[in-house]
Amino acid sequence: MTGKPAQRLTLFLLLAPAILWLGLLIVLPHVEILVLSFSERVAPRVYAFGFGNYLEFFTEPLYWRTFARTAFMSILVTALTLVLAFPIALYIARVAQGRLKAMLLLLCLLPFWVSELVRTLGWMILLRETGVISYMLRSIGLAGQPVELLYNDGAVILGLVYGGLLFMIVPLANALESLEPAVVEAGYDLGGSRWTVLRRIVIPHAMPGIVAGCIIVFMLTVGNFATPVLLGGKNGLWFTEQIYAQFITRFNWPQGAAFGMLLLLLSSAIVWLGLRLTGQSLGTTLKQA
């Protein structure tokens, strides 16, 4: 009997850092942002409660267009990443053996040893008008004059897909690795074509990994800042940039907070929708990730 409260205390002490972490660093700031997003500036240093910041979002086409564009591009990037990552993950999980497998995973990991900023700058060196690719195109005679490959949506998508690839490959490879080879063979043996086996056996089996990878990549993409700004240049409009602008250059915290809440809402809604459409539960998905 006397052991019980002591046990409970131990449990509490063990959990305390996690609870503190969650409470102080995640929940509390979000609550503060939420409260902030409902305050409106009346006069210098005077704020009142109101929905003006959200209203501003819906009445100013600039903001919700950027928002929709960010959502659409992020979904596109996620889909492209999935399509690119799937064969790679399939190869790593099902074909590569031993050392080759470790090497391939390492190869995928390698770009992440440098910071995102450096990786993005690397792309800029490749893509800029006086950059490597432009030079090569000219030297093999495919282009008559320097080609500018930077500062367009293609460059932004390229950079984002590149940044998301690893986070898609790892959960996918994990999921695919657990697929018994005999199950795939049985799929063929019973008359399935490559496509049928992929569609009815491999993909359903990998679904938790696919959803996990998509959630991670989507979140990373929607919340990315440096890549769209640097690679997109004057046209690389991203919603995080709007949030940054509101907070930092406009000093309009309540508006930035409202934008932040909307972005959080968007991410949550799309993740929820993705889970619903694929019939996955958040639990199994997180296990896979």
């Binding site: 005999a182 063979e185 799929g187 063929y188 043996d189 019973l190």
Partner: protein, 369 residues
């Protein structure tokens, strides 16, 4: 090696394996194997692990490709035909049921692959499930089934496609002993009711003996012997077959011709045994089944047997009807194993008791070592 396939005509066979060889590097996993399987036959390939039987089966299924030779199903060559286009279906060792599908979907899978409509496939799948005793299981998850039920789903999944040939790759391996004994009988009955040709591979000689119409004994990529269970058991063609199929006593010695067509084998101790066979070389192996060894408490009842020895019981292996004795016998390096009838006067014999053993020359098979 020449194989006697019998009077089966090429046109009336379901499967013909013609001089098939499969090499992995310099190693021949399957080495110039030929055989045929008749329609409706239960054909087993029996051999120790690593003998090449799995490779052979995977070549028939289409997952491996022969280095040379031909595989014909109903007279049609399967070389270059992919696995999903062959009229052959396989029951995998692990069963390989599709965990992402229900029982019904598992069975209907092959039908939908062939373009059968969803509704029709479902109906046919349900009928098949009924025939294998799984009526009403269609909606269940395959993970919610018992071992025996999963087995039946795996077979139903193949049979629903009405294949020319069903391949079974040690499908009973994962089951516990009791269930395995039960499934042996059930498999045999299923094969009988569907009258489908089965090719079964196993390392368990009891499975092969119980279920098969014919068995091929495979060793190091080659067939040692093909025949009915009875033939293999009573007339093994090679020492490997003799020792691999069924329990046996194995003796090693030097051959010498003896009177009235028998062969005498002189053991290292000087003792001599007489048997039937064709040992051309000097070194010889002789085999005698435990049930062929006659036992007696005094020498008189055995006096007309050419092989008679004295010994002492070193162990009693009680196993009901399959009980046997290990007898330390004068002149033998290994104890002789003999079946112990549970109804005779020797039923209560104890370790250390003196005993006489003997067998006929016909019961002893002699081979060149």
């Amino acid at each position: 090696m020449t194989l006697c396939i019998g009077s089966v005509m090429a046109s009336s066979t379901d499967l013909d394996i013609v001089n098939v060889t499969k090499r992995f590097g310099s190693h021949a996993a399957v080495d110039d194997v030929s055989f045929s399987v008749a329609p409706g036959e239960f054909f087993s390939i029996l051999g120790p692990s690593g003998c090449g039987k799995t490779t052979l089966m995977r070549m028939i299924a289409g997952f491996e490709h022969p280095t040379s030779g031909d595989i014909r199903i109903r007279g049609k060559s399967m070389i270059g035909v992919p696995a999903n286009k062959r009229p052959v279906n396989m029951v995998f060792q692990s069963l390989a049921l599709f965990p992402m599908m229900s029982v019904g979907e598992n069975v209907a899978y092959g039908l939908t692959c062939r373009g059968v409509s969803r509704a029709q496939a479902e109906e046919r799948a349900n009928r098949m499930l009924e025939r294998v005793g799984l009526k009403g299981f269609g909606e269940r998850r395959v993970t919610a089934l018992s071992g025996g039920q999963r087995q039946r789903v795996a077979i139903a999944r193949c049979l629903v496609l009405e294949p020319t040939l069903v391949l079974l790759d040690e499908p009973l391996g994962a089951l516990d002993l009791k269930l395995r004994e039960h499934m042996k009988i059930e498999l045999k009955q299923l094969q009988g009711t569907f009258n489908t040709t089965f090719a079964y591979i196993t390392h368990d000689q009891s499975e092969a003996l119980v279920m098969s119409d014919r068995i091929a004994v495979m060793n190091q990529g080659r067939f040692e012997q093909v025949g009915s269970p009875r033939e293999l058991y009573h007339n093994p063609a090679t020492p490997f077959v003799a020792s691999f199929v069924g329990e046996t006593n194995r003796l090693q010695g030097e051959a010498a011709p003896a009177a009235n067509g028998t062969i005498a084998v002189r053991l290292p101790s000087g003792a001599v045994v007489q048997g039937q066979g064709s040992a051309a070389a000097k070194a010889a192996l002789a085999f005698v089944r435990p049930e062929a060894v006659a036992l007696a408490q005094d020498p008189a009842p055995l006096s007309n047997l050419p092989n008679r020895f004295e010994g002492r019981v070193s162990a009693v292996l009680f196993d009901g009807a399959a009980s046997s004795l290990l007898i330390d016998t004068t002149g033998f390096e290994q104890p002789v194993r003999a079946v112990l009838p549970q109804a005779g006067p020797l039923a209560g014999i104890q370790v250390g008791a003196p005993i006489h053993v003997g067998w006929t020359a016909d019961a002893m098979k002699v081979f060149a070592a």
